[in-house]
Every structure is written in structure tokens, then in C-alpha cells.
């Protein structure tokens, strides 16, 4: 009966349901987009490999001087490895690994080459995700691990030979022993060799461009970072994982913000339900009188109208989820701002890479939890909005209701 009554005024019901659809749809779309960004951030954390603190040289080179003894290749200022002994003694530091990153040439292609100390690198980070071949070990002089994208670009396979060098030094032959994947294209356009080989190629003995630090307690990262900067002069630190934590907090704020917008839309929709139900109650005054005359209790009338309101709410919830699901995929293309947020995250967290792919797409994530929440909200809105009209209907005096035509 409730279902047929809902269908009685089709246009009005449709409009009312649309009010809920807008609210629920908006809510789901925004929640999915935010969840999508969340997944993206999580991917980045994984891609970062988990170094808690990265230390750089912060001294400004003297004007006009050639910082690297005449080498004309692109490299950051380096740090002398002697400071590792100092860093390792700082309380809270768990492990330390030097890394020498520079723009070099592989087969005349300009790529980022990272020189790492394989043993400590694996302690400090979660290591490279090797999909073919194997990871470097400390004795792997003359061996190289390439990113998936780079492998494809160079058309090279495992145990192939590549020529590696800088623009100013001679090319040396390296053997490809492994292929890694990060899921992020620009990160895969890179190569890893041992730190010693990197130092040899660049001529920077006992130097590194950055020092990666892992802390004992992930919640102590900022404190340890502060201790390092105050202890050692002339350096700069970044805390990628802490930045990701901040980004996550930002995301939470965004979620709250969007959820609030969705809720406001839902509240507006709920007024539509109240209005429709009140009109329906007043139109059906005589019907209520008849029902009471033939023995319906006030509670029966209350249940009947509440059921109608809940049906409207559920319809709105279900259709809203469908619309919201579609919107979640369409909206990001119209909202460069949010895309931008993701790109900024990419830019700030991954050092040494200037270019962030402009085609970077993040996928909204429809989680069952979000879908359930949104349908539930539709039902809840129907229930709450139906309470007052249903109560009014149930309170009608039968004799007065029957006088109504």
C-alpha cells in the first residue's frame, strides 16, 4: 500500500527523490574521489620506499665557482660521507644509507641514476620492487638495475649490456641484472648502480647527494630531523613520510569538508521529503479518517506514512549511489584543482625528479563502506523527514478528518 501511495503522484515523488539523489550522489562522488586520492597517497608512500628522513647539503656555492671541479653535468651539491658517523650516533636513528643521484646518460639517453649502498639501502627503505632478475648487492660493480619504463624505452633485456656515463666522462659498460617497478612512470625512468660505481663515474669519492635515515620510532621522525639539523651545520632535511602524514591529514580535512557539503545537500533534500509528505497527508485527510473509522490505530497510520517516507529515502539513496558512482569518474576531469593537489604531492615528495606526468590520472575508489553509508543516509533522511508528517497524520481526529473531502 505504501509503495502504491508513493507511486500515486509520480512527478512529485520523482522530484522529491531527486532531492535525495543530489545529496546522496554528491556525497558518494566526493567520498570516492577523496578515497581515490587516499589510495594514490598510499601508493606514493610505498613508492617512496619508506626513508623517514632525507639529508641534503644546504650550503650555497660561492659565486662563479665551479662546484664539481669542472664537471659540467647536472648534480646537486654533495655531502661528505664522514658525517654518517655523526648521524648514526643521534638518538632515535635506526639506520643510515648514503645515496648519490645524478643526471647521467645510458645509451645516450638522459636519465636519473642513483648510486646506492645495497646493504644499508634495504635497511633504510623497503627496497626496490624487483620484477625481473635480482637486486644489486654490495659487490655488484659494473652491474645495473633499470626501471621498467626505461627498459622498454631502451629495448633492453636482463643480462644485456648498456653504456653508462655522464656528459663529460667516458662511457663504461654495465650489465643489466634487474628490472624494478614502482607503478609511477617517471620513477621507473631511472637506474640504480652501486654507490662505488656512481662515485667512480662522477669522480666524487666519499661523497653523496643525500643521506637516507630510518628512525626507530616512526612517530619520532620530526624530532630526530630537528636534532640532525641542529647537530650538523650546513645541511637540510626533508621528511617525506612525515609529509605524507601531513598530506593524509589534509585529505581527512578535505573528506570532512566534502562530507559537510554533501550533508547540506541532503538536509536540503530532506526538506523536500517533509514538504511532499505534508502535502500527501493533507491531501489524504479523508482517507486517514476512513482508515481510522474502520479500525486503524494511530500507530498504524504513523507506520504507513513513515513507510512511504522511507521508500522515498531508499529510492533516493539507491539512485543517488548510481549517479554518484558515475559522477565520481566524471567530476575529476572538471576539477583540475583536485588533480593539482595530487600533482603537488607528487612533486614535493619525490626529489630529484622535475617532471610530473601531466597525464597522471588518479582513479576514484568506490568502497562498499561508502556505498552502504550513502544508501543508509538516504533511508535515514527519509525516516527523519517522515517523522513529523506521519505524526501529524496519526494525530488527526477521525470525525474531523471525515468531514474533509
Amino acid at each position: 500500500m505504501a509503495i502504491r501511495n508513493v507511486g500515486r503522484r509520480k512527478l512529485r515523488t520523482t522530484l522529491t527523490v531527486l532531492g535525495i539523489v543530489v545529496g546522496v550522489g554528491m556525497m558518494l562522488a566526493l567520498l570516492s574521489i577523496v578515497s581515490g586520492m587516499d589510495v594514490r597517497v598510499t601508493q606514493m608512500v610505498r613508492a617512496l620506499g619508506g626513508a623517514d628522513i632525507t639529508i641534503y647539503n644546504a650550503t650555497i656555492p660561492a659565486r662563479g665557482s665551479q662546484p664539481f671541479g669542472g664537471f659540467g653535468f647536472t648534480i646537486q651539491r654533495t655531502i661528505n660521507l664522514n658525517i654518517i658517523q655523526q648521524i648514526i650516533q643521534i638518538p632515535g636513528v635506526y639506520a643510515v644509507s648514503p645515496q648519490l643521484s645524478f643526471m647521467g646518460y645510458i645509451e645516450n639517453t638522459r636519465v636519473t641514476i642513483h648510486g646506492i649502498d645495497p646493504q644499508t639501502y634495504n635497511e633504510v627503505t623497503s627496497g626496490l620492487n624487483i620484477i625481473n632478475g635480482r637486486m644489486l648487492s654490495t659487490e655488484d660493480s659494473g652491474k645495473i638495475v633499470l626501471g621498467k619504463t626505461l627498459m622498454e624505452a631502451l629495448n633492453i633485456t636482463i643480462s644485456g649490456k648498456v653504456k653508462v656515463g655522464t656528459s663529460t666522462t667516458d662511457q663504461q659498460e654495465f650489465e643489466v641484472i634487474g628490472e624494478f617497478e614502482t607503478g609511477i612512470m617517471f620513477q621507473e625512468y631511472a637506474a640504480y648502480i652501486t654507490l662505488k660505481d656512481a662515485q667512480k663515474i662522477t669522480g666524487l669519492e666519499n661523497e653523496a647527494t643525500q643521506i637516507l635515515v630510518k628512525c626507530e620510532d616512526p612517530y619520532m621522525v620530526n624530532e630526530v630531523a630537528n636534532t640532525i639539523t641542529s647537530y650538523i651545520p650546513g645541511i637540510r632535511v626533508t621528511t617525506p613520510t612525515a609529509m605524507v602524514t601531513q598530506a593524509t591529514q589534509l585529505l581527512n580535512t578535505l573528506t570532512m569538508f566534502f562530507a559537510t557539503i554533501g550533508l547540506i545537500a541532503l538536509v536540503a533534500g530532506s526538506f523536500g521529503v517533509v514538504n511532499t509528505m505534508l502535502m500527501s497527508v493533507s491531501e489524504r485527510t479523508r482517507e486517514i479518517g476512513i482508515l481510522k473509522a474502520i479500525g486503524a490505530k494511530s500507530s498504524d497510520i504513523l507506520k504507513m506514512f513513515l513507510a512511504e517516507a522511507i521508500i522515498i529515502g531508499s529510492l533516493g539513496g539507491v539512485i543517488g549511489v548510481a549517479v554518484g558512482g558515475v559522477l565520481a569518474y566524471i567530476l575529476p576531469t572538471f576539477m583540475p584543482g583536485i588533480m593539482g593537489t595530487a600533482s603537488i604531492l607528487g612533486r614535493t615528495t619525490i626529489r630529484g625528479v622535475r617532471q610530473v606526468g601531466s597525464t597522471q590520472v588518479f582513479t576514484p575508489t568506490l568502497t562498499p563502506t561508502n556505498i552502504t553509508i550513502c544508501i543508509g543516509l538516504g533511508v535515514l533522511v527519509g525516516l527523519i523527514a517522515g517523522l513529523y508528517p506521519a505524526w501529524r497524520a496519526s494525530r488527526m481526529k477521525p470525525v474531523e478528518a471525515l468531514r474533509h473531502v
Binding site: 502504491r4 476512513i290 482508515l291 473509522a293 474502520i294 479500525g295 490505530k297 477521525p398 473531502v405
Partner: protein, 228 residues
Amino acid sequence: MSKPIVETENLVKVYKHGKIEVHALRGITVKMPNGKIIGLVGPSGSGKTTLLNIIGGLDMPTKGKIYVDGIDLTKLSEKRLAEYRLNKIGFVFQFLNLIPVLTALENIEVPMILAKIPKEERRKRAIELLKMVGLEDRMNHKPDEMSGGEQQRVAIARALANNPSIVLADEPTGNVDTDTTIKIMEIIVKLNRSLGKTFIIATHDPIVKERCEKIYNIRDGKLVGEEA
């Protein structure tokens, strides 16, 4: 004479419309016999609808006593009154008796749904009742697909759904033509004979009056005469 089905004592009903008091009933004392077709006759505004509503437990008297089938209606709570209407009384109104979104059969089922009668049983009984009023072929029609007379017959069938003690009808023929009036009264007489139910009909239609076995004339809220 057997025990009266309706017994009233100095029944008074005063409506307040703002500051104006309307005296609908001015002290009615009556004993209505069981199992008969009873007519409440009087011009509009005489108070016959008010009396019917009080008998049916839709309204409460301002003063006086009323017993229906031995039950003191003035002592019932709102919830008990609803149960009383559901089980003891069947109502037929002048027009717009039926729920527009439901078919004839479903309309007859409504009182039985409220009385929590199992689905199969109530469907069976609804079909039976439709046959009694001669509308089994209109079973799946909605009210707007039926004539006024047919709608009234469905309403009569619905009034009988929970096997009540009394069927109360307020101008049941007020909106139909003479032929239909005769038809409706034939059905009421037939049901009164076969089921032994008391029908109390408020009317000013001479055709209806003719069919009543007992008539109470009401004027200005007072009982002014009885005809057997």
C-alpha cells in the same frame, strides 16, 4: 424484547467552534433493538450523523451514557476505541469510502490486515464478501473504475469484513440514483436476513426509510418520535 444492541442515556454532544457552542445532541435516551435495520431519520443538521459517530466510537459524548453490545464506550481509551471500531463496528459513508490506490478486493482486506488475519484466510473471506454484494467480477478494479453504486457495495462488503455487531451507514445512498438506491437496500435487507446483523442507517431518503424495521425521528438533537 431481547437485550438492546445500543442503549443511550441522556446523550449530549456540544461542539465548540471557537467561542460558538453547537449543541448537536440535546439529551437522547434510546434503546435500539438487536438484529434489525434501524433508520435514523431527520433533516441535515439534526444530529443523526453525530449520534452515528458516537455509536461507532469515532466521537465521544459530552455528557450521558452509551452502551453498545454491553460495552460502556465512555470508558474506552483511544487505542481500545480503535479496537472496538475494528472488531464491533462496520462503517459505510456517503461517498469516497475506499482507498483509491487499492483494488476492490484489497479494500475489503484492509480491516482484516489491521486485525492481523493471515493472508490466505483474508483473501478467501474478501472474495466471499464480494460475492455477497454481487461484485466478484469487479475484484481487481480500483475505485475510480467502478460506479458510485458499486463503490458503495464494496464499502458494505468491507464493513462486514471482521464480522461486526453493527454496520453503521451514514447516508449510504446519498450520492446514487433511485435504481441504485433500491439495489443497495436490497443487498442490505438480504445481509440483515442472512447474517442477522444490525444495520443503523442515517438517512432522509423515503426509499431507505421504507425498508427500515425501526425508525427514530431526530430533530434539533432530540428524539421526536419512533416508528416500528
